[in-house]
Amino acid sequence: MDFSTILKTVGILAAVSAGLSVIISIAESVLNNYGECELDVNNGKRLLKVKGGSSLLSLLASEKIFIPSACGGKATCGLCKVAVLDGGGPLLLTEEPYISQEERAQHMRLSCQVKVKGNMKLLIPEDLFNIREFVCELVEMEDMTYDIKRLRMKLPPGQTIEFKAGQFVQFYSKPYGKVKEEAFRAYSISSKASEKDHIELLIRLVPNGIVTNYVHTALNVGDAVKMSGPYGDFYLRGNCEELIMIAGGSGLAPIRSLVYDVIEKGLPHRMRFFFGANTLRDLYYMDEFRQIEKDYPQFTFIPCLAFPKPEDNWDGVSGFVTVALQEQVDSAQGKEAYLCGSPGMLDACIKILHDKGFDDQAIFFDKF
């Protein structure tokens, strides 16, 4: 093997690679350098000075304004909408499926797709200003069922969380095992809204789920947990006499928070909670809800077991939640419905509610 050939090959390859890398770096610093940009938020309420060249979503997050996002900036969830009044450039092809015609008239954009290249004027909903990032300590972790864990987290001293019962937080997992990066997913808060220095979440193990596996295998009591929130449109409206609440699996979380909220605030609403599970071992918080039933006659608990076995001695409703819903809810008069569960369950229940005369304005849901 000719030594000079080897030298030539390696030399030229290295030179070309190095040359290209240098060219790309120079191009990046020249072309992608948009200098310092000023973001005017909500007509001067906040003026942010940021370094241009990144997405609006990430730059706002670096300034501690957390716009909700479920897909991590891939333009597949449509949650990160912000009104860009000036400086946003034309609407991108990737944003088009998520911005309706009315929203376009309001200058709505997907903040994960808009690149900050100069000064901008933005309108961000007030709620989002209340969103904070918390690094809490995990103080309790309990197995509620074979696949659902309850996590209780304590906020750092002096910090509190202001949330409406039913809202959710973004929960961050750390790198573990084969997973090299941080990931985040949304979980509804199951603790009482009155308890402002603790947060409780119900997390169900999803096969191959990055964050749920982190919680079920790598997380330990005493660990630090990062969360941001509160987010979400799922909270009590209450322009009615009765609340029909429907949940399955870990969807119970926001409903629990809502129930306690009504009771603690002394609101007059009657509540009927239909909780659906497939087998006996999927049920949890049974004693707690039965106790609430006893203490507060305005609340009725209707657990439904889809596949009861004879040895379960199940005397409650047998079948899917839809069965109980169909039989026990007579009309939509004076009622609002709150649902949280899997898309299949939600679609089936919403159809029944529509049949019974429920308006879309009286139905609130959190699909996961």
């Binding site: 030229i12 390859l13 070309v16 290209l20 060219i23 191009a27 072309l31 992608n32």
Partner: protein, 197 residues
Amino acid sequence: MAPNISPLIIFIASIFTSNMILNNFLGMCSYLSVSTEYKTATGLGMAVTLVLVLTTAINWLVYTFIIVPPELYYLQYIIFIMVIAALVQILEMGMDRYMPDLHAKLGIFLPLITVNCAILGVTLFMVIRHYNFIQSVLFSLGSGLGWWLAINMLAAIREKLASAKLPPGVKGPALSFIITGIMAMAFIGFSGIFTIQ
């Protein structure tokens, strides 16, 4: 060394008689997946043409001045592909900065194009046929336009067929191939003009 063919003839031939898709089967993956809508097909066609001309021109320079002198022909694949990847990245940044409207339309296609076999293919054809600089530029321009033409035709036909009733299993790639075959047959009618391969 360069063949004695007028660059203009190369240009026209590369659109009609040596069409990248219909004769050389290059760039099929994105051709099949992006041809469902006419608007996006046009966007991709434009992006492919732009990238083709730039990369072929630069690869010609790289070949002539970096590969040929030290006779490192066996390294050409690696070097070409690195140049293509780097170029696409810089193009995307430049477009975003100076032509944001264009970037809004074409931007998402650019990373897809890096692995499009048509780009590397045109460069390799240029090398095999020993084209000079002008011939290479017109060859790549024509190839890009030919590719654009083919994907636009397929998108137009597929949009029309979107509501047609079809036998099971044929919708999707199978149908696209059959349509493309018919288009290829039609283009054979042009082969009387002139051929370059």
